[in-house]
Amino acid sequence: MSQNLITEEQVFEELKKAIVETLRVDENSITPDSSLINDLGAESLDFLDINYRLEQAFGMKMARHFVLEHIEEMFGEGTAIDEDGRLTEKAIELLKTRFGHNMSDLKAGMDMDEIPVMITVRSMTQGVMDILNSLPEKCTKCGNSAWQSDEGVKVKCGSCGESATYTNGDDLIKAWLTKVQEEKKIF
């Protein structure tokens, strides 16, 4: 069971804050289903800015690279994206495993540039939750399990004051990929 003390609601609120500051959009225009690119006007640099704000707020590290890049790094160039920039069958199978089979828009042969469009406030919130859920049971410094959240959304050890140590986003994706590959042998 996860030790995470931060609720999805809190993550959603922090993410909204980060989006408003980065994209200068009206807070009320942000819903869980908003596409950051299509509905809120985000561009690639904006994602990094939003990620940075989240990292500062929660004291963790978001993934620097998307799952497709990790696939190719692990299994070789061309395994997820063909030379024309289109997604392979295997990439689609993996994305569906990760983001749910109800993502009917995911089809082999689709352009890789269509993927970022699918990033929603909800999926980003989930990404943050995955990282926060990596909080170990015990403090890495004093070994006690006494995590508590401070005034905001940062977590500290109530016993020694050490900041929470989360697994970074890239390592989480890599671990997940390794696990899925062992189970399903997609690549």
Binding site: I37, G41, E43, L45, D49, E72, E77
Partner: protein, 257 residues
């Protein structure tokens, strides 16, 4: 101050950051501005629109043109539009850049090609397309480089392209000499623009550099403006470093602590 009155300045990638600061500075000096951005429908376009409005309020003409400099046809269309609507071009500021942040040995082939397409070929396409207009005005080309051209930055393959472009600046300064088109570069230190937001994700604790070693976009823009003026006529094929002394201060902070 009307040093650049009736002159036309095109700044590639000027919806944000350093490009935007250069556009403002040139407009303050009285120039008409062409704001270029790559992607339509996103935050760049919104910012480009705001910038154009701001420039027009200063009493200058402003036009925004969407174009991806990596694409030759897109570049041709960009300069075609400038020629048609502005009728001339005096200064071409090569500022646009786009690159993945990864160690160079980890770049996929498509990323490598994109790196070269935008940051090397794209700049050359712009020079080629701008030349007919620049020859008429005896104009200037100014490339915006970064310290990555000569120093290692983590996960910054763009640095190698900046180095290549500084070399092109030297080449073109000579080959365009007869046409009286001058070519120089301004090499910026660490600037807190949007791309810094990327850099700090790959360079732990860079936020801890003392404020005095960060360059303001306006400080780079001021040197660009200087290069646009007669006062700089003796400078050719050079890259002027504007870095608050950062590159002279190797590990100064480390030594202190």
């Amino acid at each position: 101050m009307d040093i650049l009155k009736d002159k036309v300045v095109l700044i590639t990638g000027s919806s944000r950051g350093i490009g935007k600061a250069i556009a403002r500075k040139c407009a303050l000096a009285g120039a008409d501005i062409v704001v270029n951005y790559r992607k339509s429908g996103g935050s760049s376009q919104t910012q480009a629109e705001e910038l154009c409005k701001e420039i027009e309020e200063m009493g200058c003409r402003a036009m925004m043109v969407q174009a991806d400099i990596a694409l030759r046809d897109s570049v041709k269309a960009l300069f075609g539009e400038v020629s048609e609507k502005m009728g001339r071009l005096d200064y071409l500021i090569l500022n646009a850049a786009k690159a993945p942040f990864k160690p160079i040995e980890k770049l996929f082939e498509r990323e490598l090609r994109q790196l070269v397409d935008t940051n090397y070929l794209g700049n050359i396409f712009c020079i080629q397309s701008a030349l007919p207009m620049l020859e008429k005005t005896e104009g200037k080309i100014i490339f915006i480089s970064s310290l990555g051209s000569r120093f290692y930055n983590p996960s910054y393959p763009l640095g190698s392209m900046k180095a290549a472009m500084e070399s092109i600046v030297r080449d073109c300064a000579e080959s365009l000499r007869e046409k009286k088109v001058s070519v120089n570069a301004v090499c910026g230190g660490i600037v807190k623009t949007d791309s810094f937001k990327v850099l700090r994700q790959f360079w732990d604790n860079i936020d801890m550099l003392p404020d005095g070693l960060f360059v303001e976009p306006e400080e780079i823009a001021d040197v660009v403006l200087f290069l646009c003026t007669q006062a700089s006529r003796g400078i050719t094929g050079q890259t002027i470093v504007v870095d608050k002394g950062l590159s002279n201060a190797i590990c100064r902070e480390k030594v202190k602590s």
